[in-house]
Symmetry: C2
Subunit: 291 residues, 2 copies
């Protein structure tokens, strides 16, 4: 079997790359600068597999991934990966305890450490960067007196040391990543427990009518199918036209799902399966503090 | 009446600032570097009103705004503003038709113009910035041969000229902004038509049980209350615990809403009103091309 080519949302040291390292057991990893570029590469056959953030991401947006999968490319979600977000304060290796006067990071990462920064570095200037990986790159360049917020991989990749660990305000902050392919192939992954098997469907409504969503959910509810997530998203055809993205907590089967589909089509709705896949939950231990 | 102090997600030339200019009829405008900083300023009484993106934003994240309103501050949404997203290609005023070799913008803006860039500037290097406003600032500094993607306000604020208008791949791409206050006060706004009046509620479920959401929606459906948006969001108490954010297409009243609340509480759910407010829809005309 030839080596699997896996694309991910870069640059080096992003949370997406950490997810890739945690999930896969070898392969050829290729970094892409944006979610669309990564999914286009799958479409063009440059890579077999893409890993992109799908919920609660730092570098990316749920909406960007979902919309691109729905509108632009014909690809399936073949696995999902949940990773805890742990933010650390990264400094130059020569840092000697000087006053930190400027802190770089992605706006979401800075927001996640808002209370910590307010308490510990109230006078530091904050500068927003396009990603946490980019922030670490900058600190490696500018030297002492500066810090970046990012993960331990960003520290490793840029030769930074970790001044303070787990500086995020809330625990239980996770990011979900989707693993997508055009033609589902065997995936060589490390030995992780599968927490559950899920199916993501997209339901479009014929028009905006009172109680439509309620009727859609009834089709799942009386079959005792549990839904772990539901989200309405605008169609790109104008305001007020929505589709629904629904995560069902079970694998696709040939009885329940076709039953739901027939019931929804009778109501004038359409149902499209975006993927049926195992869900992996991975723990990333907090690194031992080196300062 | 003293002048109203309005905070917004900056820097200069963002889509949020464009929304502020379109909505308000005078006031003291203050730019904040992040959504939490802007909402904290309301909490501290530095400003009376904040304007932050709440859906489909370029610079910000829905989730960041929603989570902060739900978990961190006690503020109400008192108005909503829908603005079309129109992206233009901005260049230095001295640009003479040289080859554009590098294009700067926020990753979402670049993603929104993905097909245009692929067709017209396949060889240009793309560099991601923290906001579209920042991208325009950089191009004003670096000079000819570079371009930024942003709105017409970013061009004005940074003295750039618009090389190409409406370069986004899809029309009907809108951003919703929330206007929030701690103590609802009178708002001096320009004369805009109110398209509808909405109420946003947050519903928490006692635990993850089959069909829970279906029962919640039934309480709205049999009262013929139309829902224009629904989204499940994780509570910060661990994976699998969700709350629902629901937009109801009518103003809060003393009959239907208390009825829904009583019905949901009987099911073990809790309902919290995040705001009842007018929804303004604003058109931003495409600027006349100046090159």
């Amino acid at each position: 079997m030839s080596e699997q080519k896996i694309g991910y949302l870069g640059p080096k040291g992003t949370f997406t790359k950490m997810a890739v390292d945690a999930l896969f057991d070898g392969g050829n990893y290729i970094s892409y600068e944006s979610i669309p570029a990564c999914l286009d590469a799958v479409e063009a056959g440059e890579i077999s597999t893409a890993v992109v953030p799908i919920e609660n991401a730092i570098e990316g947006s749920v909406h960007l991934t979902i919309d691109y999968l729905v509108h632009q490319v014909k690809q399936s979600i073949i696995a999902e990966l949940t990773v805890p977000i742990k933010q650390h304060l990264l400094v130059h290796p020569d840092e000697q305890g000087e006053k930190i006067h400027k802190i770089y990071s992605h706006s979401h990462a800075i927001a996640q450490c808002h209370q910590y920064l307010h308490k510990r570095y109230p006078e530091a200037e904050l500068e927003y960067t396009a990603s946490t990986g980019k922030a670490a790159e900058i600190v490696a360049d500018v030297g002492r007196g500066y810090a970046a917020i990012g993960n331990h991989l960003a520290a490793e990749e840029n030769g930074l040391k970790i001044l303070d660990t787990d500086i995020h305000d809330y625990d239980n902050n996770h990011t979900r990543f989707a693993v997508v392919q055009k033609q589902p192939q065997t995936l060589k992954v490390k030995d992780h427990p599968v927490t559950k098997h899920k199916t993501t469907v997209m339901v479009t409504l014929p028009k905006d009518y009172v109680g439509a969503l309620h009727q859609v959910l009834a089709a799942f509810a009386w079959r005792k199918m549990n839904l772990s997530k539901i989200e309405s998203r605008p169609m790109k055809t104008g305001l007020g036209n929505y589709f629904f993205l629904i995560d069902v907590d079970q694998p696709y089967d040939q009885v329940l799902f076709p039953g739901v589909q027939a019931e929804l089509e009778a109501l004038g709705c359409q149902l499209k399966v975006l993927g049926t896949y195992p869900s992996y939950q991975i723990d990333i231990p907090t690194p031992v503090q080196k300062v």
